[in-house]
């Protein structure tokens, strides 16, 4: 649009060449220092003692066990949160009921709560000082300082991820298609699978990818409930801390490089999914606060 009127109108605000170059320059330098450098140094430190040391750290039984545990937590927490996100989005966007706004706020709570607070909270449910602790202990069921605790804490911190992507999109798409399908005789599941799901598949995948990244990287909440037992309840982020405090910086960075790689792949997947239109529709009413936005 702006190319058509080029040369006739004055440049837009902030378009003077000098200002523009200076601002781009400053921002790029800061991005390199603040965002890029932390990523680069992981690789540099991980290979500081050469390829052999790197390989030895990765194939060490403790590291392999931490990787397995991290993958296991993701394999359970992500599908459960996905199912929850779909159920929540269906209930909230396809029906009207009292307290809907309140439910939306409650679903988003884990985003605002410090992971440490989340971990402590779980201690008072399943720990020996907690509500269910004594009963669970009497039956010999271990939740805290064991794998179930790690998975539960991961579920808490990532509970809103899938729901948050689906709800605004399904809200925007309305109910007409689903109502048409059911009035033509399709069952609820059939309606969901062949009408709703195809329309939200990219947003769903987007939420799943972000949820997975957070589960695999969660540190604070997991470190409270895991008990940090080496080779038993250490996820990859906890293993990094353990190595780091053991003065095995190279090992810590080698383990960190796996998580950094996952982060990079997450961002690539995110960009690819955004090309498909995922992550566009936001519940954020602030976008609507702009008077210019009414075209769409």
């Amino acid at each position: 649009m702006s190319t058509v009127v080029k040369g006739r109108k004055p440049p837009r605000v902030g378009d003077q060449p000098l200002f523009r170059r200076a601002l781009i320059g400053i921002v790029l330098v800061l991005v390199a220092l603040i965002i890029l450098a932390p990523l680069v140094i992981i690789g540099v430190e991980a290979f500081a003692k050469g390829w052999a040391v790197y390989r030895d750290t990765i194939v060490h039984p403790d590291t392999r066990h931490a990787i397995m545990l991290t993958v296991l937590a993701a394999l359970i927490a992500v599908p459960v949160n996905t199912a929850f996100g779909i159920a929540a989005a269906w209930a909230i966007t396809k029906f009207d009921f009292r307290g809907k706004r309140f439910l939306l706020v409650v679903i988003e709570i884990p985003f605002s709560v410090s992971p440490i607070v989340a971990g402590v909270a779980y201690l008072f449910v399943y720990g020996l000082q907690g509500i269910f602790g004594p009963v669970l202990d009497a039956y010999g069921i271990k939740i805290l300082f064991a794998i179930p605790g790690i998975i539960l804490a991961s579920m808490f911190v990532t509970a809103p991820f899938v729901a948050r992507e689906l709800i605004p999109l399904m809200q925007a798409q309305g109910r007409d298609l689903e109502e048409a399908a059911t009035s033509l005789g399709a069952s609820g599941w059939r309606t969901f699978l062949s009408v709703t799901l195809p329309n939200v598949k990219w947003a769903l995948l987007y939420g799943v990818v972000l949820c997975n990244a957070r589960v695999m990287g969660e540190f604070g909440a997991v470190s409270v409930v895991s008990g940090n037992i080496r080779g038993q309840t250490n996820t990859l982020p906890l293993h990094i801390e353990l190595l780091y405090h053991d003065y095995q910086a190279t090992g810590a960075f080698a383990s960190a490089s796996i998580l950094a790689l996952i982060a990079v792949f997450t961002i690539i997947a995110k960009v690819a999914l955004e090309r498909q239109g995922a992550g566009r529709v936001r519940s954020d009413p602030l976008a609507a606060a702009n008077p210019a936005e009414k075209a769409s």
Binding site: G14, L23, I42, P115, I116, A263, N290
Partner: protein, 273 residues
């Protein structure tokens, strides 16, 4: 109202309420219950102890500093990404999400490696007598890193949708760029900026993983509140952990209320237009 013909309300709402109740509400209620069972006197003694007060102070001040820095840097970054075209723009745009995607523990050790006195940045800053790692400045840098995307991502869509006609009108009235930015653009960005600021500040207050590696963790000077909770747990002082955690939880709820209130205000503003 039209009768709803869609099936699945009992199942989907049942699953939702059960899961939210079990995973989110129950643990937080248990925490509040535990803190409340202390009694007002003990509760107050724990949450107002000198060490706790020092931890609130360093956490809040560092969070304010980090949020202020991110206000300027985040706004400049969003502006550059949305208003200018330059090689690598898409890559920079994607990189903004790195602080969210990178696990906090990984960010913590890499920032520490960069800012330690023998690190890339730390050795240069050391020549000027500035110490970052193991000082409150380190806490601030870790907070800056983890909360940067909030402001960029809330401001970006509003900048994208800004009506060029508004700027052109201001230009035709003879306004200078700085005047137009201050009087026309900034007021339009304000609701998004404020929301981004409150999200960023809330994230800074609760951050743990990225900070504990770089902070030094000295009681009374570089010990953040989240770490104090963790230390109380390691000492098996569960009552104190619950009390201090409840302070962080209440702060988080207050921030949530502030954010919601600002969004509601932004909506009213739209309705008036």
């Amino acid at each position: 109202m039209k009768r709803n013909v869609l099936p699945g309300l009992p199942l989907s709402l049942g699953v939702t309420l059960f899961y939210v109740g079990l995973i989110v509400v129950l643990p937080l209620a248990a925490l509040v219950f535990k803190a409340a069972s202390l009694g007002p006197e003990d509760y107050w003694r724990i949450v107002s102890s000198a060490r706790a007060l020092a931890s609130y102070r360093v956490t809040v001040l560092s969070a304010l500093g980090a949020t202020l820095f991110n206000l300027f840097f985040g706004l400049a970054l969003a502006w550059v990404l949305m208003r200018y075209r330059f090689p690598g723009r898409r890559i920079v745009d994607a990189m903004v999400d790195l602080p969210f995607a990178l696990p906090t523990a990984v960010a913590g050790i890499s920032l520490t490696a960069l800012f330690a006195t023998n690190g890339w940045f730390g050795s240069i800053l050391d020549d000027f007598g500035i110490k970052v790692a193991y000082t409150p400045l380190g806490i601030m840098i870790a907070m800056c890193f983890t909360s940067l995307p909030f402001i960029v991502r809330t401001v970006q869509p509003v900048l994208e949708d800004l009506d060029p006609a508004l700027e052109e009108a201001a230009q035709s009235l003879g306004g200078s760029d700085w005047e137009i930015f201050r009087k026309v653009i900034l007021p339009l960005l304000a609701p998004a900026l404020l929301a981004g600021l409150s999200l960023s500040f809330a994230r800074c207050l609760g951050e743990f993983g990225a900070i504990i590696f770089i902070a030094g963790n000295q009681p009374m000077s570089t010990e953040i509140t989240a770490l104090l909770i963790f230390i109380r747990l390691e000492e098996y002082d569960y009552a104190a952990a619950a009390a201090i955690a409840s302070v962080l939880l209440l702060t988080a709820f207050a921030m949530l209320a502030v954010t919601n209130w600002m969004q509601a205000r932004a909506l009213r503003y739209t309705a008036r237009n």
